[in-house]
Amino acid sequence: MLLLVDCNNFFASCEKVFDPKLEGKPLVVLSNNDGVVVARSKEAKALGIPMGAPAFECELLFKKYQVIVRSSNFSLYSDMSKRVMQTLASLGYEIEVYSVDEAFLLIEETNSSWLLEEARKIRRRVYQWTGISTSIGIAKTKTLCKAANYFAKREKSAKGVMLIDEATRKQALELLPIGEVWGIGAKTQACLQKKNVHTAWDFISLSDHYLKKELSVIGFRIALELRGISCVQLEEVREKKKSISTAKSFASPLFLLDDIQEVLARYTAEVAEELRSEKSKTSFLSVWFEAKENLDRKNDFRSFTLSEPTADTGELISRAKSLFSAMFKEGLKYKKVGVMLSGLVPEDSFQQDLFFQGKKKSGTVMQLVDSLNFEFGSQTIRFAAEGTKEKGKRGRENTSCRFTTRWDEILTVEI
């Protein structure tokens, strides 16, 4: 059976581990430059603060309910993620790290009561070793695991663990709203609801012919998985764009840096908006131009790897401008400039797709998960600081310390 281990309110939980005073209080974590809400504690969720809400819109609400506001601390979160994954790896099962706070485990066992007990042990170990609370969904396929996890989080009686087997599959799918099925996005959900498909059970009751025709092989695979048939390659459940770009010729050639930067900023804002409507973030930004120097054609291309995936327009504009400045040469007749966003990841997770075959030692897992930590090291903080200065917006006001990655920021205890 497969187990999906999913951390509860991950960023907020990380903050709580090192600040016990946060226990039981509403807490939100804001994105880069304190733009939007990217994480909420369960108390903040109960207040109705939505994910992705712009921070300035919620200021009154924050004051009224004394919501604690923290700026995102990616160094801390990625290190804590590494610890959670290392803890899971220590159990000896095959593990697939799916995102910063989710992992699949493969356990060669079908006895339900044994699996439930083992899942409880796993929850206890992760909590004891890292202080992070998790929910575990157990089922035959990944899509069913996600469904089981949905219930594990919401059913109080489940106490964080839920198993879906053949006996309970129908009931579970009848209770699962179609929008909550892994791989069914908002657009598909709207389409299906028009056809009177409201639950996962309605969905799998559709004919195979209909599924393949209306929703392509991907939709068909989702149905198969919900029926309990595992589909081996489930990397791209949702059809997402691989990159978003725009490049337009200027109405008339431009010569001045400022003029070109203005146009570049507009193009960047456009692609950033499309990025957000795709519910994605980018980790790789490219800028290029076409120009003429006297009679010769000139062009150049620069790229930048973002230290953390983002969909923030301000940040992207600032970076795009830097890239172009570095390429700009006076005296050239600029005819065209382009921006491309690639390395796209879903906005709610940092995609890591690592599948381990066989009983590899946990050392291998750590090596690969280490790359997460390396990416979100010192670069993250420096970049964000640069961004704040340039924009003059409120930013990173309430960052917790990097308790696990900086010696000068470790916890202090008083005797």
């Binding site: 016990p20 004891q128 070793w129 890292t130 916890l411 202090t412 205890v413 008083e414 005797i415």
Partner: protein, 120 residues
Amino acid sequence: MQIFEMAHNQTVRNSLDLNDLLVKHPAATFFVRVAGNSSEEVGIFSGDILVVDRALKPTARKVVLAICDGEFVLRKCMSCEKGLSFVSIASQNKKEKSKLSSLEIQVFGVVTYVIKSLSE
């Protein structure tokens, strides 16, 4: 020549790593700096860095990092009829007995090593 190379490789592979000594459960190990007073009783002084292991269960005579009323504190475990009690490690005149686990105190982890610098 060959013998020398082999010996050299062996040495490089086996050089001492403090992590092997001090960190038994990397995922569960955290470092904490001590401030304020010192505890001669347990040998923990202001300025020291503690290695705290969450994977270990607290047992009698161990020093633990714990949470009491939302604050991080250090306590020594003592066995008593009801199981474990947690006693302050501060000097005699500041001692206060804390209650048992769960309600009043929550253990963060067991202190396994104290790293002390002898330079100013």
